[in-house]
């Protein structure tokens, strides 16, 4: 296992955002995380890459206990991350943004080498044409690619993708899915949070479902999408609807 999350809980005051979450991710797989709004998906990412420590539980990356380490320590060890709300350094160029990612990554590269890596990564995500533009001038789809490029420039072993498809049009979604597949082909393990169901279901080897901070299902996309608890979480409880219909017809 490349990553193990063991009994991780996170509380914010009275809110139990994560409730004893346990999961393991295998090397080389695409692991999808889904769940209704507020289920705790991004909170889970935040505890994995050290944005904040879990209230309880352990996180192990390649056998090492990394619980509570800050994000830059995880980046050095090979855990990359994109954020749902992209925040590029707007006053820097696209190339400079990606160079920053390379400087503070796993290889801790000196500037010249980092610049080279940045060029390679821009090629990889298809942003070469925008290399010298200010990051603030990019459109949504390009900003999403930049976010991806910045994470990839750190040369991660495991990358956490938080809704990289959100806000993209169908054409852009297709292009982005191509990039995700290419990342996997390079041997990088991927955990992705995604609301776009057809994408996550078609791409993932395994899918993990959170609801109210707790696991409700885990398995292949086929298993998960037919799981009664998952259907209930997304579509509502059929029993309640039945009770309502029986009440109104009598």
């Amino acid at each position: 296992m490349i990553l193990s999350v063991e009994n991780v809980s996170k509380r914010f005051g009275g809110l139990q955002a994560l409730d004893k979450v346990t999961l393991s991710v295998k090397e080389g797989e695409i692991f999808g995380i889904i769940g209704p709004n507020g289920a705790g998906k991004t909170t889970l990412f935040n505890t994995i890459n050290g944005v904040y420590p879990p209230t309880e539980g352990r996180i192990k990356f390649r056998g090492e206990d990394v619980t509570g380490l800050p994000p830059y320590e995880l980046s050095k060890r090979g855990v990359g991350r994109t954020y749902q709300v992209v925040r590029p350094l707007g006053e820097l160029t696209v190339h400079e943004n990606v160079t920053v990612g390379a400087c503070f990554g796993r290889e801790n590269l000196p500037l010249e080498k980092a610049e080279k890596v940045a060029d390679e990564v821009l090629e990889f995500v298809g942003l070469v044409a925008r290399r010298d533009m200010l990051a603030s001038k990019l459109n949504v789809a390009q900003k999403k690619r930049l976010e991806m490029a910045r994470a990839l420039a750190a040369r991660p072993i495991l990358i956490l993708l938080d809704e990289v498809l959100a806000g993209l049009n169908p054409q852009e979604v297709g292009d982005m899915l191509g990039v995700v597949r290419k990342i996997r082909e390079q041997g990088v393990t991927i955990i992705m949070i995604e609301h776009l169901m057809h994408a996550v279901m078609n791409l993932s080897d395994r899918v993990f479902v959170l609801d109210y901070g707790a696991q409700i299902a885990e398995g292949t996309p086929q298993e998960v999408s037919n799981h009664p608890k998952v259907i209930e979480a997304y579509l509502g409880d059929p029993e309640v609807a039945k009770r309502f219909l029986e009440g109104t017809s009598s």
Binding site: P36, N37, N139, V140, A166, G167, N169, P170, H195, L196, M197, H198, A199, V200, M201, N202, P221, Q222, V224, S225, V230, I231, Y234, L235, G236, D237, P238, V240, A241, K242, R243, F244, L245, G247, T248
Partner: protein
Amino acid sequence: MSTLQVTNLESGYGEVQILWNLSLGLQPGKLTSLVGSNGSGKTTLLRAVTGLIKPWKGNVTFDGKDVTKISPHEKAEMGLVLVPEARQLFTDMSVIENLEMGATPKAARAEFKQTLEWVYSLLPRLKERQNQLTGTLSGGEQQMVAIARGLMARPKVLMFDELSLGLSPLLVINLFEVLVKLKGQGLTMLLVEQNVQMALAVSDYAYVLSNGRVEIEGESRKVMGMESVRKAYLGI
């Protein structure tokens, strides 16, 4: 003819397009539901229809008039009324004061007393609570106040955004029974709901949104059994 007709509507936020060539209609006296997963565009559609955000393309007609570019308060005056998500009540005001705030259209002001009696007959609990501060009511009671405030405007079309969110099953059933009564009185309604099972159980006609488009539409009873509904939510 539809009381409210949306034709080829496109809209979104900033440069992000959310709604794609979306059309739907509300038949007079019917309860229509609009369901779809997170981020499918339900609330955005309501915002574009009411005028809280601008439609980029397409149009909205209400009672046969093109209202695409008409401001939200003018639409409310015409009888197109929204019960918003998370209720948005005046919590430091009493129940009756919240209801007075609902009766802002001219016609509604003129009939205030009769309307209030009618609303209290539908939601008797509110009469008991009329002088209580709204913020001190339970979640279910607050949702009743939100519905009541919408009704006080004497709507021709009443739209609900996420009526059942955060409420217990029993309360949801109670609220939906109120919708059934309103339907019995001929009110045209649009119910935007995350709880698909309940929405399909109560409505006559349903639209299923997925990624800002109408994925499925039909009589609710037929839509209920469709495998494609599960697929629209869960991808495969």
